[in-house]
């Protein structure tokens, strides 16, 4: 199984990669840190599963690159592009936000889940709420990934 992790928070990436390595040692895991590099990897390498942050800079930050504009809904834009290009990668959004937007545009995590499910029925799987101090998100993500791996992968692991 090939898993792509797209997130701009190094601590979060570290924890996600740890989880993948410990739970799915045979999985090929790749990490990307921005909307652009994440989308490019998804379109060119078509991973089986993508763990995707919702808010990210446009480009990888580093060297002289400051990251371009911040994309509040980068995750949704990635999903939109996958759908448009008919790439069937399964996407799990892993976010640290409980709500998105402001004022009349404010939506809760549950509303976002429902919206993404409706808009991207082929790619979107679910959203996992990440908190640095909790292990619950790990349990949730573990379950989701296991359900996505399917019997073949479990046989491989076993």
């Amino acid at each position: 199984m090939r898993i792509l992790v797209v997130d701009d928070d190094p601590n979060k990436i570290r924890q996600l990669m740890q989880l993948i390595r410990s739970e799915f040692p045979d999985a090929e895991a790749e990490e990307q840190r921005s909307y652009q590099s994440g989308l490019k990897a998804a379109l060119l390498n078509t991973p089986d599963v993508m763990l995707l942050d919702m808010t990210m800079p446009t480009f990888d930050v580093g060297g002289k690159e400051k990251g371009g504009r911040e994309r509040r809904y980068a995750g949704r834009q990635v999903l939109h592009q996958l759908q448009r290009k008919r790439v069937e990668t399964k996407v799990v959004v892993v976010t640290q936000f409980e709500r998105f937007g402001e004022g009349p545009e404010l939506i809760t995590l549950d509303e976002l889940r429902a919206e993404l499910k409706r808009e991207f029925p082929v790619n979107y799987v679910t959203t996992v709420f990440y908190q640095a101090a909790d292990s619950q998100w790990m349990d949730s993500l573990r379950e989701v990934l296991k359900s996505l791996v399917g019997p073949n992968m479990e046989t491989d692991n076993g």
Partner: protein, 1159 residues
């Protein structure tokens, strides 16, 4: 249908039927409520009889039609309410007919007043107004026209002066127990006529007038009435119209009449069947016969199916229409101008004059004095009909004039015209709004009729008064074609294009789309240089293609149209075609797809670039390329104008950065530069524009290089992003705020508070007065602050949330503890997992194991709780819900008064925004200082205490020799934590996106010379430079210096008239100042005298006017802009010298020295 009672009484003599009403009146008794309601339901003839034959004045049945004082405007309503619009209208019609003579007098003088006002003859307007009011005395019309005159003639301060006196008068009446109408009307009249008040701002003021679902019926009706009177254009509660008519009974006759006509127009426009009811039709017929108001005639002629006889059609207007229809556009233009001079209040003439000018392809000849309403209206109509670049501004100004002139007939006409063109009217759509623009029945109004028979009746009536008119004939031919389902050719001589247009419309209306399409295509061949015809041809072809299911053809037609002229096709149509293209299996190689996606976004002013990216990406993929610049090898496959449009407007950095084929901002900008270079070849006329863009992109890249900030700073507000999304109306409010700040007499800034409960506003005897200027300032400050803090895209809270609060902060602090294995994670039940690492390391006896586990779990808990407090309580915008938030942006009235006092020194909206942002940045700085201190001190204390306590308690339980590694871990954690907290505290410093570190001058000059060699020409520059690199230059000066030196070098390349030009550049910094010298060769063809003349004006321009004018102008040498750059961007104020000259050896030299910049 007549009621039984009506049938039984209809045969009685009038006198007898009137007795139930006239008898009490003769005996001086007021009629009871039920009797009045019955009276209002009677026929018009009986109503007129009662009014004519009984002393109704004695019982005040018709209120006070000619109030001697303004206090009488506050009298109660004289009759009872039927809640039946037909009855209220007929009653009012009878009263109007009863006073026909006075109304006709008023209409004559009102016409004079409007004509004089429009053409800027305010003295004549004032005289006409006085004559109109001579016998009619006080009225709200009189009051509003006075405000309008004063504002136009004497300015804003006089308007406020008049308002102050009205408010004082109103206050007096309130003390005497009257309702608060006078103050309310005065205040809103005063605002509505203001030059500086935007329409949206006025609507905002009037929002409280809008009836709500929670309103009691009496309040709802009153709100409805006031909204109709004071903010008609937002009125949509048509069920309240009966009360609107009824309420006006308490006011002066002319107010009552104006409202009555407006209600009738509203009914006619909304296609209400009421206007065709027997009673209303009768009333309309009588009114048309006795009153000299052509607007009534328009309504009557369109609603009376018998083809009413029209009278006195204005010969001048029909002559212009005739010429126009026959294609004699220049003559039509000239005739219309002559007619406008004589009839400046006839709106139809403005429209046809502008249309004729556009069709003739000549520049506008405006017969009015610049600055007058008439001048502005004709100008605006011309730009709107020409659909040129000034169209959006023209629409905005037209709507503002419509509001200002709401008390005039032309007000509602301007509004209706604006609505038609702002919404993008398709010629065949049955838009009844056109009716509001009419003063007279004209042929084109026949399009509002539902069938050919009615149209024929209407047009034949026109024909009988203005026979042989080509326009009438053309419309009759059109309708006869519809009736026969076969096109008849016009007999009169009309231009082929006009006949073609009518034929296409007729065929389309008949459903013969293939033939219609062919006609529209033919029409397009006539449409060159005639935007309105182009729009008709393009929209018609589009509609027919859609009906025939030819989506790609429809797209091609519209793409051609939008590329040739922006604003030609309304945004709604463009979005519609983009939708069709998305659903259909279209050829992705068709350049029309991305062009239309781009145009649709541009026309709707949407900032969302995703639809453009998707269409562009599909297009590039279809051509097998990744970047637009790679299309160069296929350039021959596209029409140049489509390709140019695509490259110029769709291939922008904000669109390209969504593509996966770029991995950095630098790559995106590099691609845009390549595109600009290509565009320079495709559109040599716009080379300067593209070169300027290349220079700006290079400047951005250089700035990024100079920032040396690889880490994204944590606290960030994109002030320039906020500026871009601030609504245009905010700038209008700023202008108004600045206008108030300049009023010296404080009492003139007073207004009465419009915000309290509606009921109180009308009835409350105590009125709260406020400083209107401060109120506007506070409103502006609050709105800008709200964007600064809460803008999803650009604001502070969003930034704090994304970059700090969620995860990053917790991760960074926790990481210091995790590294030493001191904390564990919570499970689903909220319990911390056992710290197996230290339990194994310490190996406690079984009896102590449980307690150790608890102590370590408590440490995890305390760390997470502390993080939670910092995240959820400290790093928050302070509010009622988060009182401990450290980002405190509360500004009490006292704190705002100080900046308000400084507003008087500000000129222009950009400076105002700078000023408010400065106040907010200053407060942000203070907040950040407090946050940094709290992290370094309070947070550090809390976390260290948790560590100390854990260490001490573990020490009590663990064997002393086993504790050593634990103590080492605690100490290491403390040290790392101290560093981490210092680092976290540093997140809380302001990162202005454009903040550049101090930089060496050679870095700037090298980048700049690269741009100049690529963009500037025609002369190639050979630059010998002497640059002081001993000390860095403050980062804040980067932009100013770049712009300044670009102008100097670009001028050398442009104006030296040499193939290759030697330039000597010297840059020095020191002693608190900076000096720049650029000297270049001049060709022998250069006119030295001309240069000297320019130079004399530049060295010491009349600062202020000259600089302000100069910086707005494009082209020329741009040298005047140097003053602006030096004064404002480089902050030198007056401390500078510009010395341009021609040297003795015939070279051009500019030396600039400025002080106080290197600090």
């Amino acid at each position: 249908m007549l009621s039984n009672r009506a049938i039984s009484t209809s045969r009685m003599p009038m006198r007898q039927r009137a007795r139930p009403y006239t008898d009490p009146i003769f005996s001086g008794q007021a009629l009871g409520s039920a009797v009045v309601q019955n009276l209002k339901r009677e026929s018009l003839a009986l109503l007129r009889y009662v009014l004519r034959s009984s002393p109704v004045k004695r019982v005040k049945l018709t209120g006070t039609p000619f109030p001697k004082t303004r206090k009488s405007l506050l009298d109660p309503i004289p009759t009872s309410f039927t809640d039946d619009l037909e009855s209220e209208l007929c009653w009012t019609a009878a009263v109007m007919l009863h006073h026909a003579e006075q109304i006709n007098c008023f209409l004559r003088e009102q016409g004079e007043f409007e004509a004089s006002l429009l053409s800027g003859d305010f003295d004549s307007a004032d005289e006409a107004r006085r004559r109109a009011l001579n016998d009619l005395h006080e009225s709200y019309w009189g009051m509003e026209t006075q405000f309008l005159l004063v504002e136009c003639r004497d300015g804003f301060e006089s308007n406020r002066d008049l308002l102050t006196s009205c408010l004082k008068e109103g206050e007096q009446y309130i003390r005497e127990g009257c309702r608060n109408f006078l103050s309310l009307f005065a205040q809103l009249f005063s605002q509505r006529v203001e030059q500086n008040l935007s329409v949206s701002e006025y609507d905002h003021y009037c929002a409280f007038l809008k009836p709500t679902t929670d309103d009691q019926i009496a309040v709802k009706r009153m709100r409805g009435y006031l909204q109709f009177r004071l903010n008609y254009h937002t009125f949509d509660q048509f069920d309240l119209l009966p009360f609107v008519v009824h309420m006006e009974e308490s006011h002066a006759l002319i107010d009552r009449y104006n409202t009555f006509v407006r209600v009738l127009l509203t009914l006619a426009v909304t296609d209400s069947i009421l206007v065709t009811s027997h009673r209303v039709s009768m009333a309309l017929g009588a009114l048309v016969a006795e009153l000299d108001d052509s607007r009534l005639e328009v309504i009557n002629s369109l609603t009376a199916r018998r083809g009413s006889q029209t009278r006195d059609l204005p010969a001048a207007l029909f002559a212009v229409m005739d010429c126009y229809t026959r294609g004699e556009y220049l003559r039509a233009r000239d005739l219309s101008i002559d007619a406008l001079r004589e009839h400046p209040a006839m709106f139809e003439l403005y429209e046809i004059s502008a249309k004729a000018t556009v069709r003739a392809g000549v520049s506008l000849s405006n017969p009015f004095r610049a600055g007058t309403f008439a001048y502005e209206i004709l100008n605006a109509l011309y730009h709107i009909l020409a659909r040129d670049a000034d169209m959006p501004a023209a629409l905005e100004r037209l709507l503002q004039i419509a509001y200002q002139m709401d008390c005039c007939r032309v007000g509602i006409q301007l509004y209706a015209f604006h609505q038609q063109h702002a919404r993008g009217r398709y010629p065949l759509s049955k838009d009844r709004g056109i009716l509001l623009t009419a003063n007279y029945p004209t042929p084109r109004l026949s399009l509002l009729l539902s069938d050919a028979e009615a149209a024929e009746l209407y047009l034949s009536a026109l024909d009988s008064t203005s026979s042989q008119n080509a326009a009438i004939h053309l419309f009759r031919t059109y309708w006869r074609s519809i009736s026969d389902m076969s096109y008849h050719q016009a007999i009169v001589d009309v231009p082929e294009s006009r006949e073609c247009k009518f034929k296409a419309h007729a065929l389309e209306r008949m459903g013969q789309y293939e033939d219609a399409l062919a006609e529209y295509r033919r029409l397009a061949t006539f449409a060159e240089d005639t935007p309105s015809l182009s729009a008709d041809a393009a929209t018609g072809q589009y509609q027919c293609c859609i009906k025939l299911g030819r989506i790609t053809n429809a797209a091609d037609v519209l793409a051609e149209a939008v590329v040739l002229q922006p604003h030609l096709i309304p945004a709604g149509t463009l979005h519609e075609i983009v939708q069709y293209l998305g659903n259909a299996e279209t050829d992705q190689k068709n350049i029309a797809c991305p062009v239309l996606a781009c145009s649709a976004q541009r026309e709707s002013l949407s900032l969302d670039t995703d639809p453009i990216h998707d269409a562009l990406d599909d297009f590039l993929t279809a051509w097998g390329v990744q970047r637009p610049s790679e299309l160069v090898e296929f350039a021959g496959s596209f029409k140049v104008h489509l390709l140019t449009y695509l490259l110029r407007y769709a291939c922008l950095p904000d669109v390209l950065d969504s593509s996966i084929w770029y991995s950095s901002q630098t790559e995106v900008e590099g691609e845009r530069i390549r595109i600009c270079e290509w565009l320079s070849e495709l559109e040599p006329d716009n080379r300067d524009v593209f070169n300027r863009e290349i220079a700006e992109l290079t400047q951005l890249a250089t700035m990024r290089e100079l920032t040396h900030k690889v880490e994204r700073s944590r606290v960030y507000v994109d002030a320039s992003g906020i500026r871009q999304v601030l609504p245009e109306s905010l700038r209008d409010r700023i202008s108004r705020c600045l206008a108030f700040s300049r009023i010296k007499r404080e009492e003139l800034r007073q207004s009465f508070e419009l915000s309290p409960a509606f009921e109180q506003l009308l009835e409350e005897t105590k009125v709260l007065y406020i400083d209107e200027g401060f109120r506007i300032f506070r409103g502006l400050f609050d709105d800008i602050r709200a964007e600064f803090l809460s803008s999803t895209e650009y604001g502070l809270d969003s930034n704090l949330s994304q970059r700090i609060r969620h995860g990053t902060l917790a991760g960074e602090i926790r990481a210091q503890f995790e590294e030493s294995h001191l904390v564990t994670l919570k499970d689903a039940s909220g319990q911390y997992g056992e710290n197996a690492y230290w339990i194994d390391e310490l190996g406690p006896p079984d009896e102590e194991r449980q307690r150790m586990c608890e102590i370590l779990a408590q440490l995890s808990s305390r760390v997470d709780q502390t993080i939670s407090v910092v995240r959820n309580e400290w790093i928050q915008i302070r509010s009622e819900a988060v009182p401990d938030g450290m980002f405190d942006y509360d500004f009490g009235p006292q704190q705002l008064h100080e900046p308000y006092q400084q507003v008087v020194k500000i000129h222009g909206d950009e400076s105002f925004l700078d000023f408010v942002f400065d106040v907010l940045w200053q407060r942000t700085d203070e907040n950040l200082h407090n946050v940094r201190a709290a992290i370094k001190n309070e947070l550090r204390r809390l976390l260290f205490e948790a560590l100390d306590e854990c260490e001490a308690r573990m020490g009590e339980l663990a064997p002393p020799n086993a504790m050593s590694p634990f103590r080492v871990a605690i100490t290491r954690c403390r040290t790392q934590l101290a560093y981490a907290l210092e680092s976290i505290a540093d997140w809380f410093s302001i990162d202005h996106s454009q903040q550049i570190q101090d930089f060496p001058l050679p870095a700037l000059v090298n980048s700049l010379l690269g741009v100049v060699s690529r963009c500037s020409g025609p002369s190639r520059l050979h630059v010998r430079s002497s640059i002081d690199d001993t000390k860095p230059v403050p980062g804040a000066l980067f932009r100013g210096l770049w712009d300044l030196m670009f102008i100097l070098l670009d001028n050398a390349a442009k104006h030296s008239k040499l193939e290759s030009t030697n330039v000597d550049l010297t840059l020095e910094i020191g002693n608190g100042g900076l000096s720049v010298a650029v000297t270049n060769d001049l060709g022998k063809d250069v006119d030295h005298e001309a240069i000297r003349r320019v130079v004399d004006g530049i060295a010491t321009p009349d600062i202020g006017v000259a600089v302000a004018e100069g910086v707005r102008r494009e082209g020329g040498t741009g040298l005047l802009k140097l003053h602006k750059i030096i004064r404002h961007d480089l902050g030198a104020n007056e401390d500078y010298l510009i010395d341009p000259m021609i040297t003795n050896d015939g070279r051009f030299s500019v030396e600039i020295s400025l002080g106080g910049v290197s600090q």
